[in-house]
């Protein structure tokens, strides 16, 4: 599958990943609100994951029968796990605060 991709593409992907990483490191220095900063960080995180999965792991060349269950299954299960467990933590904190 990697025969589809030139070496140049890998290194362009590398540059985009580095730019995203640097922007994530320096976003704290911007006047964004906390919510906007977190949303930006989550968006950049997913963009980086998509670049690594699609270009480095060649998922964009695989059949949808392979990549859709892999990506959707993992993301949905992880999100389900997070919202089942983590959000309970916020409720616990509210209960703990008098």
């Amino acid at each position: 599958m990697s025969g589809h991709t030139s070496y140049r593409t890998y290194w362009i992907t590398w540059i985009v990943l580095l730019v995203l990483t640097l922007s994530m490191l320096f976003v704290e220095a911007t006047p964004f609100t906390r919510i906007l900063t977190v949303l930006f960080l989550l968006g950049a995180m997913l963009a980086k994951a998509a670049l690594i999965g699609g270009w480095f792991m060649h998922l964009r060349f695989e059949r949808p029968a392979l990549w859709i269950p892999l990506v959707a299954g993992t993301l949905l299960t992880a999100a389900f796990l997070f919202f089942l467990i983590a959000v309970d933590g916020a409720a616990m904190q509210r209960m703990a605060v008098p």
Partner: protein, 205 residues
């Protein structure tokens, strides 16, 4: 109409077996299944971390605990090693074994540098009194999650480096094909992928 008939025939033929519905080798499919199960393990760790973080009234400011310059460098090294790994896979598929060996070794070097940074970071925190059960910043779960999550990820990197060195020797000897390099490449990119989530959720948010 002919196209529809052909599609139906192709679909029926597909379900009769003897073909590969995913279009990949069984080794690659098994690697993907392993990576998905491993990803869910890390998802469990991060969900538990999220729970503790949201349940705690206070949480240490990470930029006061860690050297963000060092974390940024670690991330840079790991991303670069992913690019060298992708280049190695491409070279192996093209039959350029010399280049493939060279880039697999560069990837392993990246992994070693990452581990060096991680060891330094662990030593600094342990030196300040952080452990699995307590730390000077007042939230014991903070260091417990730090050692557990980064330790588990670091173990993956260490295993990856060992496998990369073995694969480099095999490629050099002409005993591993492009598909073999691609399998270890998938594992290495996964290690990088997991770090993207740890870096964001643990160090930045």
């Amino acid at each position: 109409m002919d196209l529809v008939t052909t599609d139906v025939a192709a679909t029926e033929a597909h379900w009769k077996g003897g073909v590969s519905p995913f279009g990949v080798s069984w080794q690659k499919l098994m690697m993907w299944l392993f990576l998905v199960s491993d990803a869910l393990l890390f998802a469990g760790f991060l969900a538990a971390y999220g729970f503790e973080r949201l349940a705690s009234p206070a949480w240490p400011e990470r930029s006061e605990v860690f050297s963000m310059a060092a974390i940024g460098t670690m991330t840079f090294v790991l991303i670069t090693s992913s690019a060298t790994m992708a280049t190695a896979v491409g070279a192996a598929h093209r039959g350029d074994l010399r280049r493939a060996t060279r880039f697999v070794l560069l990837t392993a070097l990246g992994g070693l540098i990452f581990l060096g940074f991680q060891a330094t970071e662990w030593a600094a925190l342990i030196g300040e009194g952080a452990s699995l059960t307590g730390n000077p910043w007042g939230v014991p779960a903070f260091s417990a999650f730090f050692f557990m999550i980064t330790g588990f990820h670091g173990t993956h990197v260490l295993i990856g480096v060992i496998v990369l060195l073995l694969v480099a020797a095999r490629v050099r000897a002409g005993r591993t094909s492009g598909s073999g390099v691609e399998l270890v490449g998938l594992y290495w990119h996964f290690v990088d992928l997991v770090w993207v989530f740890i870096f964001t959720c643990f160090y930045l948010i």
